[in-house]
Amino acid sequence: MMNRSTTQGTEATSSPPVHAGIMGERIESAPVPLPMRVAIIGAGRGGTALLDGLHQISTIEIVGIVDRNPSAPGLKRAHELNVPVYDRLSDLTQHQRLHLVMDVTGDPAMKRMLHEQLPAGADLLSGQAARLLWTLMQHEAHLQAELLHAEKLAGIGSFAAGIAHDMNNPLQLILGLAENLAEETDIGTVRDQARDIIEAVKRTTAICRDLTSYSRRASLRQEGLISVNGKLDEALKIARYAVALQDIDIRKRYQPDVVVKGNPDELLHVFVNLITNAVQAMADQGTLTLETAVTADATQVRVSDTGCGIAPELFGRIFEPFFTTKPPGKGTGLGLYNIKSVIHHMNGNIAVESQVGRGSTFTLTFPHDSAVSERSAQT
């Protein structure tokens, strides 16, 4: 059910062509630079930051990482990212065709040792230079988080109609019942209406709680196991402030107990964005399908709509920053760009299939290293 199709024209010949891609790559071919092969020495905070940062750059290949401390955090992260972990420094530095060795141990003795072991043609980055690089990567991660938060806050502006609707309805009930209670003499009716008022206040409180929770800044360190089905349901609750879901046929095809590892606030934002885009593509009428599944290789999440689809000439650009087809003031053009960044940080990828006039499907795939069972989440 969840096998991703990357072929074109799988439908009947009379159907519009299917366009598919991963991570927003352009359809036209471009010269691909050879990867720069780097080795990371030291798997503490600096090494972990380098792993996370360099892993996202397609022109860099991390050939391995090494640390004296077998419980260094970067080694665990390397396993998650499928980066080879070496037991001995010499095994890594003798790696064939190494371009750059990055020493982030901060140990002056290590620098001398590496100079002696450095293979021909490889450069060494260490000391203050490595520290500067680490600082820049941390700064970039901070900017990325700021961008995500800014885009989320910009999106909340479109929630106004939904919030007003959902807040003012219970307020109308409270006001009407309170006015009636001022004259009501039947104690049974008074009790019933007092109970209705309490329920209405709880509804209003829940709206405030959902929104304050959603709008908060995602903590960079707040990573853990996330129940995907629960997060999709939470995203639906939030998305209904931004778009009208009344006339949307929502179909949930959840495999039970699907869990991935990542930042729950960021994943919620990803799902809210995908659902909001899907409903907008359908002009508030159509079928929204949310699917989760665990395959032999990975955990997958699919968000499908029966909307207008993506025009072929725009298909390769949708993940570019500031690219939007919405009218001025209606979209930041950062939604899909941020989604791609979050999913990539989770070591996953995002693929799109679309047919003009038929709809689109966004498939998120998380490799099994970052996907674990619900049972392990509970334990």
Partner: protein
């Protein structure tokens, strides 16, 4: 007395008029009905625009409906679509919008289209009754 005027009898009880409340929230229909019922109005309910159209086209409602109170954000046929339909097919039935979202542009457009009032929830009972009374006057003037 004209059959369109207020003060007619329905089911043996005197009524000040018949009001159709269109809102997808049962709680809203409940409090509006409570408020208007106390003021002597006969209140009909519909949960969306499609049901409202069905209601007004059934039985004696085509002739006896005096005022319609309509929400905007509703499933199936939304308030805007329902209002357009009623303005075209029942131009003599005054319309009051009761919405949760204060939208100045929409309010201006709807008032230009002949909507009697654009009320934003939460609205006090007295204000709602005054608005319905104004709509009733307009209804009676339309039939003079």
């Amino acid at each position: 007395m004209s059959e369109f005027k207020s003060g007619f009898f329905i089911g043996g009880e005197q009524s000040n008029g018949r009001v159709l409340v269109v809102d997808d929230e049962p709680d809203i229909r409940k409090v509006v009905r409570m408020t208007l019922h106390k003021a002597g109005y006969d209140v009909l309910e519909a949960e969306n625009g499609a049901k409202a159209i069905e209601t007004i086209n059934s039985g004696e409602n085509r002739l006896l409906l005096d005022v319609m109170i309509c929400d905007i954000r509703m499933p199936k046929v939304n308030g805007i679509e329902a209002i357009t339909y009623f303005r075209e097919n029942y131009p003599r039935v005054p319309l009051i919008v009761l919405t949760g979202f204060p939208d100045t542009d929409m309010a201006t457009t709807l008032l230009r289209q002949g909507v009697v009032d654009y009320l934003v929830k939460p609205v006090e009972g007295e204000k709602l009754k005054a608005s319905v009374a104004r709509a009733m006057e307009q209804r009676e003037l339309a039939h003079l």
